[in-house]
């Protein structure tokens, strides 16, 4: 167990990778900044602005099999007159020893027919057994701009305040910027590309593809560069309920899998 913890720390992925954005996004290498569905609450909240119905979704992820690293997330959106509200909660845990909770309340709306914007207030809590609990608030901004019927650009700022006040405390939510685009190539194919930067010069580039093999059944795949991972997944849409599954392959850490379930009211 101690070895595993050490191993995971050595290969630790960035904190943001621990934010769960559902199996559809994961199967596309998390290149989700310019996608819009209920799972946008985990990637770029501006993506929920165009949703017309209330939706509830859950996602469960087992990170790198048999490591006891798991995350569970819940997503809720409800459209209203002033915009679409979203509620998000994600719990990331390593056995009982390490536990990270993030919850967020979002308001997202269309400013024009092409531009969507969102603001999110997050509550973050980190607890490590024998070390105690740390809590902090953070704020996210999201944008999506529809260049054409088929082409969407997305920008997401995760805790941009940290750009202004970089204070080294024991628990920092990193400031990150994600730029992404999605393109509907044909009625069967959706392409998505994301890049991500943060204050520590961290950089990642991701590429995802969704292919509708038959009506209501989608196959997905993707690649992220840093770290190099390959992704694949599938989803079925049963009118009100949709189920998605995804797996990622890391050269050293092996396979992680995720299942998510969405209900539209």
């Amino acid at each position: 167990m101690r070895f595993l913890v050490l191993f995971l720390i050595l290969f630790a992925e960035k904190l943001n990778a621990q934010i769960n954005s559902g199996a559809r996004s994961m199967a596309m290498a998390n290149a989700a900044t310019a996608l819009n569905d209920v799972y946008s609450l985990g990637s770029n909240q501006a993506g929920i602005a165009s949703l017309k119905r209330s939706e509830l979704a859950f996602a469960f992820q087992e990170h790198n099999y048999s490591t006891n690293v798991r995350s569970i997330a819940a997503f809720l959106v409800f459209p209203s007159n002033i915009g679409v509200f979203g509620l998000y909660a994600n719990n990331y845990s390593l056995s009982q020893n390490f536990n990270e909770l993030r919850t967020g309340l979002t308001l997202s709306r269309l400013l024009t027919s092409k531009l969507a914007i969102s603001g999110t207030l997050n509550y973050n809590q980190l607890s490590i057994s024998d070390y105690g609990i740390n809590r902090t608030l953070s704020f996210d901004l999201g944008f999506q701009y529809r260049l054409s019927e088929d082409w969407v650009l997305g920008v997401h700022l995760n805790n941009p305040a940290a750009y202004v006040t970089v204070k080294k405390s024991s628990y920092n939510v990193p400031a990150q910027i994600r730029l992404g685009t999605s393109y509907v190539l044909s009625d069967q194919i959706l392409l998505a590309i994301d890049s991500e930067y943060d204050l520590d010069d961290y950089f990642d580039f991701r590429f995802g593809l969704e292919y509708s093999i038959i009506n209501r059944v989608n196959l997905r795949g993707g690649t992220s560069l840093l770290p190099f991972k390959q992704y694949m997944g599938a989803g079925i849409d049963f009118n009100k309920i949709s189920v998605d599954a995804a797996s990622s392959f890391h050269p050293q850490l092996g396979i992680s899998s995720q299942l998510s379930l969405n209900y539209a009211f």
Binding site: F207, L225, F228, P251
Partner: protein, 678 residues
């Protein structure tokens, strides 16, 4: 159906007649050269690709009749992928015979670029009836080539003390190539070669040239589809068990990771290994083809001190020094086997079994990385392979077994997700003790052994003028390798944009990232593995100034790092001028290139124009200038003369190492070639 296509073709033709169907002003040589240049990513210098050039050149002179052709013939064009071939045949099946070449634009997956490339090789005219050919209709083709490095290399100096290694022969290179061709039916080929440093009519080369190769090939006599006598090559399945000659690796031709089962071919290139010598024939019984083959030849085995065994099989073909001559033809190899192939419209399945027997045992060095290497005198291989087309998916694969040792398997698919997007997936699994002496399966390793990996590629035609291709390949080597003292892994990423706004302008942007593990550079009893990262970026622009002159420019940057300490950077930039006046006796090309790299690790390869059937792809490293000029002069209708002068001018003195060492800072090479066709 017919009518619709004619209208479609007509409308399209009006729009882009200038774009894609304007008469090519370039001659056959340039077309073939550009295709080969694209197929070769990082070639070994001096590899001979002439079997491909010859085939392409043949089809330029005798274009394939699109209304009669079949899969086998189209496969010989090499640059068409399996999916493109099946789409073309499917189109013909659905809409009837081709009426105009414009119809090519209506075929799924045929971009402007592909059509442009294909046009010189195809026609819809009635081809000449080959059965009426007479022996006197045959064509003779003789090429004589001479070449040498002009500066004195260390190996040619008189040895300072007796017993010191040196080259026995002169620095001259000689090559004679003769072909007799009777249409598509019958061919005789003869190659004779002397490499630099080899003796000529004396020493171990008493019979003149160091390398002789002859082949006789005949097609379509009764049930016998083809028959080869002398030197031949077999390219079967996905190449896991038996594949001689050139094979595609990773590169911009993403769809070509699916090997095309070519079968039996005469061996006509001048590479001194990787061919078979004996007799083979393909016999056809309805949908089943049976291919028995037998081969016996001598090869260069690295002999043990008692000469009773050998440790490895030499492939260079150099016999220049006493040590190289000692191993010359030092062992022999007998190969015999049978391939059976079932060919139906959508499903093609083949199976083969063969045995290789040496006259003395192969005993590789007792190093840990060789723990699973083949040891012994006899090896039996068997294999099953398939291609299957189902709607928009082309599936392919091969599984092979080497008796008493391991298995290898490769499986993949190419899916045309839409008319703009194709997906390529390939998974491979080669056990550490999977053996075959003729395998060239898709791999990162040079050998098809000790490797697992997953390759994902995409081809996106954003518009007829814009194409993007990319791939990601992850691989793992479960056992150690030469200079890698542990299980290791790595990945390879590639992205390329090609934009051709018009026929006369072509812009390519390319980026490649490779990450692999190797032993650290420290000398010690134990080596740690370090990551070796190689990044390359390339910008290339080709543009026609007018009907006579084309410019090509390339800038390539490289960044190499090994662990924390070893870092190198480099660049190379060239300017090419291609001069091809129509109907003039003279044509040629010139390159001037500047390069600067921090060392050999950051070397950059570039394909160079050469005399016909000559190939050059040197590495550019350290600091210097490269200049070459290649001129062809048509003396008479059937008599051509080539002259090529190429030179490296380095900033520092001292070039190469070992026996090839040159004291000065210039290395220049000259080639003269004469071709007679009668």
């Amino acid at each position: 159906m017919h009518f619709r296509y004619i209208i479609y073709a007509f409308v399209l033709g009006q729009i882009s007649v200038k774009g894609s169907f304007a008469q090519q002003f370039f001659d056959t040589e340039t077309i073939v050269e550009s295709i080969i240049g694209e197929m070769i990513e990082e070639a070994e210098d001096e590899f001979d690709y002439s079997d491909i050039s010859e085939r392409l050149e043949f089809y330029i002179r005798n274009p394939i009749d699109l209304n009669k052709t079949d899969e086998k013939e189209l496969t010989e064009l090499y640059f068409l992928s399996s999916t493109q071939i099946s789409e073309l045949l499917l189109h013909r099946e659905l809409s009837g015979s081709f009426i105009s070449l414009y119809e090519l634009q209506a075929i799924e997956g045929f971009s402007d670029q592909i059509i442009q490339r294909l046009l010189p090789f195809v026609s819809i005219r009635q081809s000449v009836d080959q059965s009426a050919l007479n022996f006197k209709d045959g064509k003779h083709d003789l090429i004589l080539r001479y070449g040498r490095v002009l500066e004195k290399q260390k190996g040619y100096l008189t040895p300072e003390r007796p017993g010191q290694s040196h080259y026995l022969g002169t620095p001259d290179r000689l090559f004679v190539r003769y072909r007799y061709q009777l249409g598509n039916k019958l061919q005789f080929a003869l190659n004779m070669k002397k490499d630099a440093g080899e003796d000529f009519f004396k020493g171990d080369q008493r019979s003149g040239f160091d390398f002789y190769s002859a082949s006789f090939f005949i097609k379509d006599i009764g049930k016998i589809q083809n028959l080869a006598l002398g030197d031949y090559s077999l390219q079967l399945g996905q190449g896991l068990s038996l594949w001689n000659g050139f094979s595609f690796g990773k590169g911009s031709l993403v769809q070509h990771v699916a090997r095309q089962n070519i079968g039996l071919r005469p061996y006509t290139s001048a590479n001194e290994s990787q061919y078979l010598r004996g007799v083979a024939a393909t016999i056809k019984f309805g949908q089943i083809e049976i291919l028995p083959f037998v081969s016996y030849k001598k090869f260069d085995g690295t002999l043990s001190s008692d000469s009773l065994s050998f440790s490895s099989i030499g492939i260079s073909g150099y016999h220049r020094t006493p040590a190289e001559n000692k191993n010359r033809n030092s062992a022999s190899q007998l190969l015999y086997g049978l391939n059976v192939f079932y060919n139906s419209r959508n499903l093609k399945v083949g199976t083969m079994a063969f045995q290789t027997a040496f006259d003395k045992p192969m005993l590789p060095n007792q190093q840990l990385y060789n723990a699973y290497a083949f040891r012994g005198e006899r090896l039996t291989n068997s294999s099953v392979y398939y291609h299957y087309t189902f709607r928009n998916i082309y599936a392919f694969g091969e599984s092979a077994y080497s008796f008493n040792s391991g298995i290898g398997s490769v499986n993949g698919l190419i899916a045309s997700l839409s008319h703009q997007l194709s997906l390529v997936l390939l998974h491979r699994y080669y056990q550490k003790d999977f053996h075959s002496f003729f395998s060239q399966g898709f791999s990162e390793n040079t050998k098809t052994i000790n490797e697992n990996g997953l390759y994902t590629g995409l081809i996106l035609n954003l518009s007829p003028r814009v194409e993007w291709v990319g791939y990601a390949d992850y691989f793992r080597f479960p056992w150690m390798k030469y200079q890698v003292d542990g299980p290791s892994s790595g990945y390879d990423l590639f992205s390329q944009f090609v934009y051709s706004p018009r026929k006369t302008l072509n812009i390519t942007l390319r980026y490649r990232y490779r990450n692999k593990e190797e032993n650290d550079a420290l000398k010690g009893p134990i080596n740690k593995l370090e990551n070796v990262v190689r990044q390359q970026a390339r910008v290339e622009v080709k543009y026609d100034i007018n009907d006579v002159i084309q410019f090509r420019n390339r800038l390539e940057l490289i960044d190499y790092s090994k662990g924390e300490n070893l870092k190198e950077k480099g660049y190379m930039a060239y300017h090419d001028i291609v001069f091809k006046p129509l109907e003039k006796a003279i044509s040629g090309n010139v390159r001037i290139a500047a390069f600067k790299t921090d060392g050999y690790n950051s070397r950059i390869y570039a394909f160079e124009n050469d005399v016909l059937y000559g190939y050059s792809s040197p590495s550019y490293h350290n600091t210097g200038i490269r200049l070459y000029t290649n001129i062809r002069y048509r003396l008479q209708r059937n008599l051509d003369f080539w002259l090529r002068y190429a030179s490296f001018l380095y900033a520092d003195r001292g070039i190469s190492s070992g026996l090839d060492y040159i004291e000065g800072n210039i290395k220049s090479d000259i080639r003269l070639q004469l071709r007679m066709q009668f």
